[in-house]
Symmetry: C2
Subunit: 232 residues, 2 copies
DNA sequence: TTTCAATAAAATATCGATTTTTTATATATA
DNA sequence: TATATATAAAAAATCGATATTTTATTGAAA
Protein backbone atom coordinates (compact mmCIF):
# COMPACT_ATOMS: atom_id res chain seq x y z
CA UNK A 1 0.00 0.00 0.00
CA UNK A 2 1.14 3.47 -0.79
CA UNK A 3 1.80 5.50 2.34
CA UNK A 4 0.93 8.69 0.54
CA UNK A 5 -2.62 7.57 -0.07
CA UNK A 6 -2.96 6.35 3.48
CA UNK A 7 -2.66 9.74 5.02
CA UNK A 8 -1.48 13.08 3.78
CA UNK A 9 1.68 14.44 5.32
CA UNK A 10 1.08 17.04 8.01
CA UNK A 11 2.96 19.69 6.05
CA UNK A 12 1.74 21.46 2.93
CA UNK A 13 0.31 24.40 4.79
CA UNK A 14 1.11 28.10 4.87
CA UNK A 15 2.93 28.03 1.55
CA UNK A 16 1.11 29.87 -1.18
CA UNK A 17 -2.26 29.75 0.52
CA UNK A 18 -4.40 32.87 0.52
CA UNK A 19 -3.64 35.65 2.95
CA UNK A 20 -6.88 34.80 4.72
CA UNK A 21 -5.81 31.22 5.21
CA UNK A 22 -2.39 32.23 6.49
CA UNK A 23 -3.93 34.73 8.88
CA UNK A 24 -6.41 32.13 10.05
CA UNK A 25 -3.74 29.59 10.86
CA UNK A 26 -1.44 32.13 12.46
CA UNK A 27 -4.05 33.71 14.70
CA UNK A 28 -5.50 30.39 15.60
CA UNK A 29 -2.08 29.14 16.61
CA UNK A 30 -1.47 32.20 18.73
CA UNK A 31 -4.74 31.76 20.56
CA UNK A 32 -4.40 28.04 21.15
CA UNK A 33 -0.82 28.37 22.33
CA UNK A 34 -1.70 31.30 24.55
CA UNK A 35 0.38 33.99 22.90
CA UNK A 36 -2.90 35.83 22.66
CA UNK A 37 -4.31 35.44 26.17
CA UNK A 38 -7.98 34.69 26.89
CA UNK A 39 -10.37 37.62 26.76
CA UNK A 40 -7.88 39.82 24.93
CA UNK A 41 -9.11 42.48 22.57
CA UNK A 42 -8.09 41.70 19.03
CA UNK A 43 -7.46 44.92 17.26
CA UNK A 44 -7.61 44.67 13.53
CA UNK A 45 -4.81 47.12 13.12
CA UNK A 46 -2.39 45.40 15.48
CA UNK A 47 -2.98 42.06 13.82
CA UNK A 48 -2.73 43.71 10.45
CA UNK A 49 0.75 44.99 11.10
CA UNK A 50 1.75 41.92 13.08
CA UNK A 51 0.92 39.60 10.20
CA UNK A 52 1.80 42.14 7.57
CA UNK A 53 -1.42 41.96 5.61
CA UNK A 54 -4.58 43.94 4.97
CA UNK A 55 -7.67 44.33 7.07
CA UNK A 56 -9.89 42.08 4.96
CA UNK A 57 -7.94 38.85 5.44
CA UNK A 58 -7.70 39.55 9.16
CA UNK A 59 -11.41 40.12 9.49
CA UNK A 60 -12.23 37.04 7.49
CA UNK A 61 -9.87 34.96 9.56
CA UNK A 62 -11.45 36.23 12.75
CA UNK A 63 -14.88 35.45 11.39
CA UNK A 64 -13.78 31.89 10.78
CA UNK A 65 -12.30 31.63 14.25
CA UNK A 66 -15.58 32.81 15.68
CA UNK A 67 -17.25 29.59 14.75
CA UNK A 68 -14.35 27.64 16.14
CA UNK A 69 -15.33 29.36 19.37
CA UNK A 70 -11.81 30.62 19.81
CA UNK A 71 -12.88 34.17 19.09
CA UNK A 72 -15.92 36.09 20.17
CA UNK A 73 -17.41 38.74 17.98
CA UNK A 74 -19.34 41.64 19.30
CA UNK A 75 -21.14 43.37 16.52
CA UNK A 76 -19.75 46.82 15.85
CA UNK A 77 -17.35 46.39 18.73
CA UNK A 78 -14.79 44.09 17.25
CA UNK A 79 -13.31 40.77 18.21
CA UNK A 80 -11.68 39.30 21.28
CA UNK A 81 -10.24 35.94 22.15
CA UNK A 82 -12.68 33.64 23.89
CA UNK A 83 -12.64 33.86 27.64
CA UNK A 84 -11.60 30.90 29.71
CA UNK A 85 -13.08 29.64 32.93
CA UNK A 86 -13.24 26.54 35.00
CA UNK A 87 -16.84 26.00 33.96
CA UNK A 88 -15.95 26.35 30.32
CA UNK A 89 -13.14 23.86 30.70
CA UNK A 90 -15.36 21.35 32.41
CA UNK A 91 -18.02 21.80 29.79
CA UNK A 92 -15.51 21.13 27.05
CA UNK A 93 -14.12 18.10 28.82
CA UNK A 94 -17.51 16.56 29.46
CA UNK A 95 -18.78 17.13 25.95
CA UNK A 96 -15.55 15.90 24.49
CA UNK A 97 -15.85 12.68 26.43
CA UNK A 98 -19.39 12.13 25.20
CA UNK A 99 -18.66 12.87 21.58
CA UNK A 100 -15.36 11.05 21.37
CA UNK A 101 -16.86 8.03 23.04
CA UNK A 102 -19.55 8.05 20.38
CA UNK A 103 -17.11 8.57 17.53
CA UNK A 104 -14.61 6.01 18.74
CA UNK A 105 -17.24 3.33 19.06
CA UNK A 106 -18.51 4.03 15.58
CA UNK A 107 -14.97 4.03 14.25
CA UNK A 108 -14.35 0.62 15.74
CA UNK A 109 -17.69 -0.64 14.49
CA UNK A 110 -16.59 0.32 10.98
CA UNK A 111 -13.06 -0.94 11.52
CA UNK A 112 -11.08 -1.80 8.43
CA UNK A 113 -7.54 -2.80 7.69
CA UNK A 114 -6.78 0.57 6.22
CA UNK A 115 -8.03 2.38 9.30
CA UNK A 116 -5.95 0.09 11.49
CA UNK A 117 -2.86 0.96 9.50
CA UNK A 118 -3.52 4.66 9.65
CA UNK A 119 -3.76 4.34 13.42
CA UNK A 120 -0.41 2.62 13.68
CA UNK A 121 1.14 5.17 11.38
CA UNK A 122 -0.15 8.23 13.19
CA UNK A 123 0.86 6.72 16.50
CA UNK A 124 4.32 6.06 15.18
CA UNK A 125 4.65 9.60 13.90
CA UNK A 126 3.65 10.94 17.30
CA UNK A 127 6.11 8.76 19.16
CA UNK A 128 8.95 9.73 16.85
CA UNK A 129 8.34 13.42 17.26
CA UNK A 130 8.19 13.53 21.05
CA UNK A 131 9.82 15.91 23.48
CA UNK A 132 11.91 18.57 21.70
CA UNK A 133 9.40 20.70 19.79
CA UNK A 134 6.23 20.87 21.84
CA UNK A 135 4.02 22.45 19.20
CA UNK A 136 5.08 19.94 16.65
CA UNK A 137 4.40 17.13 19.06
CA UNK A 138 0.96 18.49 19.84
CA UNK A 139 0.19 18.47 16.15
CA UNK A 140 1.03 14.79 15.93
CA UNK A 141 -0.79 14.13 19.15
CA UNK A 142 -3.94 15.61 17.73
CA UNK A 143 -3.45 13.68 14.53
CA UNK A 144 -3.29 10.45 16.48
CA UNK A 145 -6.40 11.19 18.47
CA UNK A 146 -8.30 12.26 15.40
CA UNK A 147 -7.18 9.12 13.59
CA UNK A 148 -8.89 7.09 16.29
CA UNK A 149 -12.16 8.81 15.46
CA UNK A 150 -11.62 9.21 11.76
CA UNK A 151 -13.42 6.05 10.82
CA UNK A 152 -16.69 6.98 12.50
CA UNK A 153 -18.31 7.90 9.22
CA UNK A 154 -19.63 11.27 10.24
CA UNK A 155 -17.63 14.22 9.04
CA UNK A 156 -19.74 16.58 11.10
CA UNK A 157 -19.08 14.66 14.29
CA UNK A 158 -15.39 14.67 13.44
CA UNK A 159 -15.48 18.37 13.00
CA UNK A 160 -17.09 18.86 16.37
CA UNK A 161 -14.49 16.64 17.99
CA UNK A 162 -11.70 18.52 16.30
CA UNK A 163 -13.10 21.79 17.53
CA UNK A 164 -13.39 20.52 21.05
CA UNK A 165 -9.89 19.15 20.88
CA UNK A 166 -8.52 22.57 20.07
CA UNK A 167 -10.55 24.25 22.76
CA UNK A 168 -9.23 21.73 25.21
CA UNK A 169 -5.62 21.86 24.20
CA UNK A 170 -5.69 25.58 24.72
CA UNK A 171 -6.17 24.95 28.42
CA UNK A 172 -3.22 22.60 28.39
CA UNK A 173 -1.03 25.34 26.99
CA UNK A 174 -2.39 27.80 29.50
CA UNK A 175 -1.43 25.42 32.30
CA UNK A 176 1.98 25.58 30.72
CA UNK A 177 5.04 24.50 32.58
CA UNK A 178 3.13 22.78 35.32
CA UNK A 179 2.70 20.05 32.80
CA UNK A 180 5.98 18.50 33.80
CA UNK A 181 3.57 16.45 35.80
CA UNK A 182 2.76 14.69 32.59
CA UNK A 183 6.06 12.94 32.84
CA UNK A 184 5.14 11.25 36.07
CA UNK A 185 2.11 9.78 34.47
CA UNK A 186 3.12 7.47 31.70
CA UNK A 187 1.24 9.09 28.90
CA UNK A 188 3.03 7.11 26.23
CA UNK A 189 1.84 3.92 27.83
CA UNK A 190 -1.71 5.24 27.87
CA UNK A 191 -1.52 6.00 24.17
CA UNK A 192 -0.23 2.55 23.41
CA UNK A 193 -2.98 0.96 25.42
CA UNK A 194 -5.62 2.94 23.61
CA UNK A 195 -4.08 2.07 20.27
CA UNK A 196 -4.00 -1.61 21.12
CA UNK A 197 -7.56 -1.76 22.33
CA UNK A 198 -8.69 -0.02 19.14
CA UNK A 199 -6.74 -2.39 16.94
CA UNK A 200 -8.18 -5.34 18.80
CA UNK A 201 -11.52 -3.74 18.04
CA UNK A 202 -12.51 -3.82 21.67
CA UNK A 203 -14.78 -0.78 21.79
CA UNK A 204 -15.56 -0.87 25.50
CA UNK A 205 -11.94 -1.14 26.51
CA UNK A 206 -10.72 1.44 24.02
CA UNK A 207 -13.36 3.91 25.05
CA UNK A 208 -12.70 3.38 28.71
CA UNK A 209 -9.00 3.95 28.23
CA UNK A 210 -9.55 7.00 26.05
CA UNK A 211 -11.91 8.65 28.51
CA UNK A 212 -9.63 7.89 31.44
CA UNK A 213 -6.80 9.44 29.50
CA UNK A 214 -8.83 12.62 29.10
CA UNK A 215 -10.26 12.66 32.56
CA UNK A 216 -6.92 12.31 34.26
CA UNK A 217 -5.49 15.28 32.46
CA UNK A 218 -8.80 16.98 33.04
CA UNK A 219 -8.82 16.46 36.79
CA UNK A 220 -5.29 17.74 36.99
CA UNK A 221 -6.03 20.86 35.01
CA UNK A 222 -9.18 21.48 36.98
CA UNK A 223 -7.11 21.46 40.13
CA UNK A 224 -4.58 23.84 38.67
CA UNK A 225 -7.24 26.14 37.41
CA UNK A 226 -9.13 26.47 40.66
CA UNK A 227 -6.02 27.15 42.75
CA UNK A 228 -4.89 29.68 40.16
CA UNK A 229 -8.23 31.49 40.33
CA UNK A 230 -8.15 31.62 44.10
CA UNK A 231 -4.89 33.50 44.01
CA UNK A 232 -6.54 36.56 42.56
CA UNK B 1 -42.64 36.70 36.79
CA UNK B 2 -41.76 39.07 34.05
CA UNK B 3 -42.24 37.56 30.65
CA UNK B 4 -39.52 39.70 29.20
CA UNK B 5 -36.93 38.14 31.43
CA UNK B 6 -38.19 34.69 30.72
CA UNK B 7 -37.32 34.77 27.07
CA UNK B 8 -36.43 37.51 24.65
CA UNK B 9 -38.86 38.18 21.87
CA UNK B 10 -37.84 36.66 18.57
CA UNK B 11 -37.64 40.03 16.86
CA UNK B 12 -34.95 42.66 17.36
CA UNK B 13 -32.89 41.57 14.38
CA UNK B 14 -31.88 43.22 11.12
CA UNK B 15 -32.52 46.74 12.39
CA UNK B 16 -29.38 48.77 12.69
CA UNK B 17 -27.09 45.78 12.81
CA UNK B 18 -23.87 45.87 10.84
CA UNK B 19 -23.90 45.19 7.12
CA UNK B 20 -22.09 41.96 7.82
CA UNK B 21 -24.77 40.82 10.22
CA UNK B 22 -27.53 41.70 7.80
CA UNK B 23 -25.77 39.91 4.98
CA UNK B 24 -25.19 36.90 7.20
CA UNK B 25 -28.84 36.60 8.12
CA UNK B 26 -30.07 37.24 4.61
CA UNK B 27 -27.77 34.75 2.90
CA UNK B 28 -28.33 32.19 5.59
CA UNK B 29 -32.05 32.49 5.13
CA UNK B 30 -31.79 32.12 1.39
CA UNK B 31 -29.73 28.98 1.74
CA UNK B 32 -31.89 27.35 4.40
CA UNK B 33 -35.08 28.14 2.52
CA UNK B 34 -33.64 26.94 -0.74
CA UNK B 35 -33.67 30.19 -2.68
CA UNK B 36 -30.01 29.52 -3.15
CA UNK B 37 -29.98 25.89 -4.22
CA UNK B 38 -27.43 23.35 -2.96
CA UNK B 39 -24.04 23.37 -4.63
CA UNK B 40 -24.62 26.77 -6.21
CA UNK B 41 -21.72 29.06 -6.84
CA UNK B 42 -21.94 32.15 -4.69
CA UNK B 43 -20.50 35.01 -6.65
CA UNK B 44 -19.44 37.88 -4.50
CA UNK B 45 -20.56 40.37 -7.08
CA UNK B 46 -24.06 38.99 -7.50
CA UNK B 47 -24.60 38.89 -3.77
CA UNK B 48 -23.11 42.33 -3.48
CA UNK B 49 -25.63 43.87 -5.81
CA UNK B 50 -28.43 41.64 -4.58
CA UNK B 51 -27.99 42.82 -1.01
CA UNK B 52 -26.80 46.25 -2.01
CA UNK B 53 -23.63 46.29 0.02
CA UNK B 54 -19.87 46.02 -0.41
CA UNK B 55 -17.68 43.02 -0.92
CA UNK B 56 -16.26 42.91 2.59
CA UNK B 57 -19.52 42.31 4.45
CA UNK B 58 -20.44 39.63 1.94
CA UNK B 59 -17.15 37.84 2.32
CA UNK B 60 -17.34 38.01 6.08
CA UNK B 61 -20.86 36.70 6.10
CA UNK B 62 -19.83 33.83 3.87
CA UNK B 63 -16.92 33.07 6.16
CA UNK B 64 -19.31 32.83 9.06
CA UNK B 65 -21.65 30.60 7.11
CA UNK B 66 -18.76 28.33 6.32
CA UNK B 67 -18.54 27.23 9.89
CA UNK B 68 -22.27 26.71 10.00
CA UNK B 69 -21.56 24.23 7.24
CA UNK B 70 -24.08 25.93 5.02
CA UNK B 71 -21.36 27.27 2.77
CA UNK B 72 -18.21 25.64 1.46
CA UNK B 73 -15.15 27.66 0.80
CA UNK B 74 -12.57 26.66 -1.69
CA UNK B 75 -9.48 28.69 -1.15
CA UNK B 76 -8.84 31.04 -4.02
CA UNK B 77 -11.87 29.70 -5.80
CA UNK B 78 -14.67 31.30 -3.90
CA UNK B 79 -17.71 30.07 -2.06
CA UNK B 80 -20.62 27.80 -2.87
CA UNK B 81 -23.63 26.61 -0.96
CA UNK B 82 -23.09 23.27 0.73
CA UNK B 83 -24.07 20.31 -1.39
CA UNK B 84 -26.89 18.05 -0.29
CA UNK B 85 -27.10 14.30 -0.49
CA UNK B 86 -28.97 11.44 1.04
CA UNK B 87 -25.88 10.45 3.00
CA UNK B 88 -25.47 13.96 4.32
CA UNK B 89 -29.09 14.05 5.38
CA UNK B 90 -28.85 10.76 7.18
CA UNK B 91 -25.66 11.84 8.87
CA UNK B 92 -27.32 14.98 10.13
CA UNK B 93 -30.39 13.11 11.30
CA UNK B 94 -28.41 10.47 13.17
CA UNK B 95 -26.10 12.95 14.84
CA UNK B 96 -29.00 15.17 15.71
CA UNK B 97 -30.77 12.33 17.42
CA UNK B 98 -27.70 11.50 19.47
CA UNK B 99 -26.96 15.05 20.52
CA UNK B 100 -30.53 16.09 21.19
CA UNK B 101 -31.11 12.97 23.21
CA UNK B 102 -28.10 13.90 25.29
CA UNK B 103 -29.13 17.53 25.65
CA UNK B 104 -32.76 16.79 26.43
CA UNK B 105 -31.85 14.37 29.19
CA UNK B 106 -29.51 16.87 30.73
CA UNK B 107 -32.13 19.57 30.43
CA UNK B 108 -34.62 17.44 32.28
CA UNK B 109 -32.05 16.47 34.88
CA UNK B 110 -31.57 20.17 35.57
CA UNK B 111 -35.27 20.92 35.34
CA UNK B 112 -36.50 24.03 37.08
CA UNK B 113 -39.73 25.91 37.29
CA UNK B 114 -38.42 28.65 35.08
CA UNK B 115 -37.38 26.22 32.41
CA UNK B 116 -40.78 24.58 32.56
CA UNK B 117 -42.43 27.93 32.01
CA UNK B 118 -40.22 28.82 29.10
CA UNK B 119 -41.21 25.53 27.50
CA UNK B 120 -44.88 26.25 27.84
CA UNK B 121 -44.39 29.74 26.51
CA UNK B 122 -42.39 28.76 23.45
CA UNK B 123 -44.85 25.99 22.72
CA UNK B 124 -47.71 28.42 22.95
CA UNK B 125 -46.00 30.87 20.63
CA UNK B 126 -45.48 28.12 18.10
CA UNK B 127 -49.08 26.97 18.24
CA UNK B 128 -50.37 30.50 17.83
CA UNK B 129 -48.29 31.19 14.79
CA UNK B 130 -49.16 28.09 12.80
CA UNK B 131 -50.09 27.71 9.17
CA UNK B 132 -50.14 31.06 7.33
CA UNK B 133 -46.54 32.22 7.28
CA UNK B 134 -44.35 29.16 6.99
CA UNK B 135 -41.03 30.85 7.64
CA UNK B 136 -42.36 32.51 10.70
CA UNK B 137 -43.75 29.24 11.95
CA UNK B 138 -40.45 27.51 11.40
CA UNK B 139 -38.78 30.13 13.52
CA UNK B 140 -41.11 29.40 16.38
CA UNK B 141 -40.79 25.71 15.77
CA UNK B 142 -37.05 25.93 16.17
CA UNK B 143 -37.46 28.09 19.25
CA UNK B 144 -39.63 25.42 20.84
CA UNK B 145 -37.22 22.63 20.08
CA UNK B 146 -34.27 24.63 21.30
CA UNK B 147 -36.16 25.50 24.48
CA UNK B 148 -36.39 21.81 25.22
CA UNK B 149 -32.61 21.57 25.14
CA UNK B 150 -31.86 24.97 26.56
CA UNK B 151 -31.55 23.80 30.12
CA UNK B 152 -28.82 21.25 29.39
CA UNK B 153 -26.15 23.52 30.78
CA UNK B 154 -23.75 23.26 27.88
CA UNK B 155 -23.73 26.21 25.53
CA UNK B 156 -21.43 24.40 23.14
CA UNK B 157 -23.76 21.44 22.89
CA UNK B 158 -26.64 23.83 22.30
CA UNK B 159 -24.73 25.45 19.53
CA UNK B 160 -24.08 22.13 17.86
CA UNK B 161 -27.75 21.25 18.13
CA UNK B 162 -28.77 24.56 16.68
CA UNK B 163 -26.42 24.07 13.76
CA UNK B 164 -27.74 20.61 13.10
CA UNK B 165 -31.27 21.89 13.33
CA UNK B 166 -30.62 24.39 10.57
CA UNK B 167 -28.87 21.86 8.40
CA UNK B 168 -31.84 19.59 8.82
CA UNK B 169 -34.54 22.13 8.24
CA UNK B 170 -32.91 22.96 4.96
CA UNK B 171 -33.84 19.51 3.74
CA UNK B 172 -37.40 20.06 4.84
CA UNK B 173 -37.59 23.18 2.71
CA UNK B 174 -36.01 21.37 -0.20
CA UNK B 175 -38.68 18.71 0.04
CA UNK B 176 -41.08 21.62 -0.25
CA UNK B 177 -44.66 21.12 -1.15
CA UNK B 178 -44.59 17.40 -0.58
CA UNK B 179 -44.78 18.31 3.05
CA UNK B 180 -48.53 18.49 2.89
CA UNK B 181 -48.04 15.01 4.19
CA UNK B 182 -47.23 16.61 7.48
CA UNK B 183 -50.89 17.33 7.90
CA UNK B 184 -51.80 13.67 7.83
CA UNK B 185 -49.48 13.02 10.68
CA UNK B 186 -50.64 14.93 13.71
CA UNK B 187 -47.52 16.91 14.34
CA UNK B 188 -49.23 19.19 16.81
CA UNK B 189 -50.12 16.22 18.91
CA UNK B 190 -46.53 15.04 18.81
CA UNK B 191 -45.31 18.39 20.03
CA UNK B 192 -47.77 18.39 22.88
CA UNK B 193 -46.74 14.91 23.91
CA UNK B 194 -43.10 15.88 23.95
CA UNK B 195 -43.88 18.98 25.94
CA UNK B 196 -45.89 17.03 28.48
CA UNK B 197 -43.27 14.36 28.96
CA UNK B 198 -40.65 17.05 29.49
CA UNK B 199 -42.77 18.90 32.00
CA UNK B 200 -43.43 15.68 33.85
CA UNK B 201 -39.66 15.30 33.86
CA UNK B 202 -39.86 11.88 32.34
CA UNK B 203 -36.60 11.82 30.44
CA UNK B 204 -36.99 8.41 28.83
CA UNK B 205 -40.45 9.16 27.54
CA UNK B 206 -39.60 12.66 26.37
CA UNK B 207 -36.51 11.48 24.56
CA UNK B 208 -38.34 8.59 22.93
CA UNK B 209 -41.05 10.91 21.69
CA UNK B 210 -38.59 13.49 20.48
CA UNK B 211 -36.52 11.01 18.54
CA UNK B 212 -39.59 9.42 17.03
CA UNK B 213 -40.73 12.84 15.98
CA UNK B 214 -37.44 13.36 14.14
CA UNK B 215 -37.17 9.90 12.74
CA UNK B 216 -40.63 9.92 11.24
CA UNK B 217 -39.97 13.11 9.34
CA UNK B 218 -36.56 11.70 8.57
CA UNK B 219 -37.83 8.48 7.09
CA UNK B 220 -40.28 10.40 4.98
CA UNK B 221 -37.65 12.78 3.65
CA UNK B 222 -35.26 9.94 3.00
CA UNK B 223 -37.90 8.33 0.84
CA UNK B 224 -38.51 11.53 -1.06
CA UNK B 225 -34.86 12.13 -1.55
CA UNK B 226 -34.05 8.73 -2.96
CA UNK B 227 -36.94 8.73 -5.45
CA UNK B 228 -36.00 12.26 -6.48
CA UNK B 229 -32.41 11.20 -7.11
CA UNK B 230 -33.50 8.24 -9.17
CA UNK B 231 -35.37 10.48 -11.54
CA UNK B 232 -32.18 12.00 -12.87
C1' DT C 1 -10.13 15.11 -34.17
C1' DT C 2 -7.62 15.52 -29.74
C1' DT C 3 -4.22 17.78 -26.94
C1' DC C 4 -1.73 21.50 -25.62
C1' DA C 5 -0.33 26.28 -25.01
C1' DA C 6 -1.25 31.11 -25.20
C1' DT C 7 -4.41 34.61 -24.56
C1' DA C 8 -8.66 36.94 -22.92
C1' DA C 9 -12.30 37.29 -19.70
C1' DA C 10 -14.20 36.68 -15.27
C1' DA C 11 -14.05 36.25 -10.60
C1' DT C 12 -11.58 36.13 -6.30
C1' DA C 13 -8.65 38.16 -3.07
C1' DT C 14 -6.42 42.02 -1.31
C1' DC C 15 -5.25 46.72 -0.40
C1' DG C 16 -5.65 51.65 1.12
C1' DA C 17 -8.74 55.22 2.03
C1' DT C 18 -13.20 56.79 3.91
C1' DT C 19 -17.15 56.54 6.80
C1' DT C 20 -19.36 55.22 10.88
C1' DT C 21 -19.46 53.79 15.50
C1' DT C 22 -17.61 53.29 19.87
C1' DT C 23 -14.75 54.64 23.62
C1' DA C 24 -12.22 57.94 26.25
C1' DT C 25 -11.63 62.67 27.83
C1' DA C 26 -12.79 66.99 29.21
C1' DT C 27 -16.22 70.36 30.59
C1' DA C 28 -20.25 72.02 32.50
C1' DT C 29 -24.33 71.36 35.54
C1' DA C 30 -27.07 69.70 39.56
C1' DT D 1 -18.89 65.00 44.46
C1' DA D 2 -21.59 62.88 41.24
C1' DT D 3 -24.00 63.05 36.88
C1' DA D 4 -24.70 64.34 32.51
C1' DT D 5 -23.24 66.38 28.05
C1' DA D 6 -20.24 67.71 24.45
C1' DT D 7 -15.94 66.93 22.20
C1' DA D 8 -11.82 64.37 20.65
C1' DA D 9 -9.48 60.17 19.75
C1' DA D 10 -9.47 55.46 18.54
C1' DA D 11 -11.17 51.59 16.46
C1' DA D 12 -14.40 49.05 13.64
C1' DA D 13 -16.81 48.65 9.49
C1' DT D 14 -17.30 49.58 4.90
C1' DC D 15 -16.30 51.03 0.29
C1' DG D 16 -14.10 51.32 -4.31
C1' DA D 17 -10.10 50.35 -6.82
C1' DT D 18 -6.23 47.23 -7.91
C1' DA D 19 -3.75 42.99 -8.12
C1' DT D 20 -3.95 38.12 -8.42
C1' DT D 21 -5.79 33.85 -9.61
C1' DT D 22 -8.82 30.95 -11.92
C1' DT D 23 -11.64 29.78 -15.76
C1' DA D 24 -12.98 30.05 -20.53
C1' DT D 25 -11.65 30.69 -25.29
C1' DT D 26 -9.03 30.46 -29.21
C1' DG D 27 -5.79 28.65 -32.38
C1' DA D 28 -1.91 25.88 -33.41
C1' DA D 29 0.53 21.37 -33.41
C1' DA D 30 0.48 16.27 -32.97
Amino acid sequence: MNIKTLSPSPEASTQDASATQRAYLAIRRMIVVGELPPGEKLKIDSLRSMLDTGASPIREALSLLTSDQLVERIDQRGFRTAATSLENFEEILALRCSLEDMALRQSIANASEQWEESLVLSHHRMVRESRDNIERFEERHKAFHMALLDNCGSSILLRFCSQLYDLNIRYRYLAGKSLNYQKKRDVSKEHEDILNAAIERNADLASERLLNHYRQTGAFLTGLFSTASEQR
